[in-house]
């Protein structure tokens, strides 16, 4: 891939630290970096391939499962009402586990605790469908991550992960996404890395995928060993990215190149 050639050249010229964060008014969703055709794909539910996953999620929401033989709807009723605003608040602090969980983990926690069912594997079609369906109910709402004393250390670790150099290419997330956003990488503009539309349909994947899948791709891209799905490091990074995008509107299910 061209990244193999471009990134080492880029890395050689980057300054040591990139501590400054972008001003809130400079933030733009990845939507604005796409072509008009791709934007049209996201806006039109009849043409957005993620609609297929949405419909699957809708069916799963009312399907009974597990030893308790109950569906999500049994406790949560109509998702359009009860799940409104939920995705905009995730990752969120789990009191029992005393750490943040992202939406996928929260859904699996519900499955094991309430439905007495096995958790769904990460990136499985079913988990993606359910997560997309739940997150869709927050479409148009502003991201709202409130950080209290319990969440602060996790947020700090997420911020450090975002700003530290890593991988063989020895660059940080901040280098591309804070300093060089808008410039081109392999012919495409670099977005600012605001996870406003996850789970989303990525043209490159030709499938819906989670934010963690994208983060793992990024880590592989700088030639760092990607953390496994569900790793606390990924959740902390998700938390930081969502906090960094606070106030921006949820677009799930988005489409990205």
């Amino acid at each position: 891939m061209i990244a193999r050639v471009v990134l080492p050249l880029v890395a050689a010229f980057l300054p040591m630290s990139s501590g400054a964060q972008m001003a809130p008014e400079d933030r733009r969703s990845g939507y604005e970096f796409m072509s008009a055709e791709t934007r049209a794909m996201q806006d039109d539910e009849a043409a957005n391939p993620a609609t297929l996953w949405l419909l699957d999620g809708e069916a799963l929401w009312i399907r009974k499962d597990g030893r308790a033989d109950v569906s999500c709807a049994h406790c949560h009723g109509d998702a359009a009402t009860t799940m409104k605003g939920v995705a905009a608040r995730y990752p969120s602090f789990d009191l029992k586990l005393e750490r943040p969980l992202d939406l996928e983990q929260r859904i699996n926690a519900c499955r094991t605790d309430a439905q007495k069912a096995a958790p769904l594997p990460f990136e499985s079609r079913e988990l993606l469908a359910l997560t997309t369906y739940v997150a869709r109910q927050s479409r148009g709402m502003p991201i709202q991550i409130n950080v209290d004393a319990r969440l602060q250390p996790f947020l700090d670790r997420g911020r450090n992960a975002f700003e530290q150099r890593q991988g063989q290419l020895n660059i940080s997330c901040a280098h591309c996404h804070e300093q060089y956003w808008g410039r081109k990488l392999a012919g495409n503009p670099i977005p600012q890395a605001h996870p406003t539309g996850y789970p989303l349909y990525r043209l490159e994947w030709q499938s819906v995928g989670s934010l963690q899948r994208r983060l793992r791709n990024c880590l592989a891209g700088v030639r760092a060993a990607p953390y496994p799905f569900g790793a606390p490091e990924l959740v902390e990074l998700e938390l930081y990215l969502m906090w960094r995008a606070r106030g921006m509107k949820i677009e799930t299910p988005a489409v990205r190149p």
Partner: protein, 173 residues
């Protein structure tokens, strides 16, 4: 592939190899027997005439009939986000009456491993000869759309597109 097409393919491959050598020689100041601009130009022209896979696929559909230019409108973004999903629309200027209508629309590409993209059978019931889909493109190339009318005539239009990120390139992980 027909024998003629195979022979053309082989010629095209040989030309490509020679062109590659010529370009390499131009960039290497120490190379002897470097090609002149005219020689390179004539290699390129012959190669262009031999986009054989696409031409062969078109001939399979059209036979020996002449292909007119016009009537067909091909909508493709000139610069593409990702070659995996390229929106494509084809529309044909036709009244779509029971006697004057578009029988079929065929779309071909030049540089994917396979030259066909889609073939659509229509008829007067369509009202309008207009279709849309999303396609994969492996490289910057020319896309050709051909309309087959009820009177047996063929009409075509082409469009060049630039693809920076090719289709089907992501590693399966």
């Amino acid at each position: 592939m027909t024998p003629i097409a195979q022979a053309l393919e082989a010629r095209a491959a040989a030309l490509e190899a020679e062109l590659q050598r010529a370009m390499n020689a131009r960039q290497d100041p120490q190379a002897n027997g470097a090609y002149s601009s005219e020689q390179i130009k004539s290699l390129q022209t012959e190669l262009a005439r031999l986009t054989s896979m696409m031409q062969d696929a078109i001939r399979k559909v059209v036979g020996d009939a002449p292909i007119n230019r016009g009537k067909v409108k091909l909508d493709l973004p000139p610069l593409i986000d990702n070659g995996n999903v390229v929106p494509l629309s084809v529309s044909v200027d036709s009244p779509m009456t029971p006697t004057d209508y578009v029988k079929a629309i065929h779309v071909f590409n030049e540089k994917n491993p396979q030259p066909n993209i889609v073939s659509v059978q229509l008829g007067p019931r369509a009202g309008r000869a207009s279709i849309s889909t999303r396609i994969r493109l492996a490289d910057s190339q020319t896309v050709t759309a051909i309309a087959q009318l009820a009177d047996g005539s063929f009409w075509q239009t082409t469009q060049d597109v630039i693809v920076t990120i090719a289709a089907c390139a992501e590693e399966i992980s």
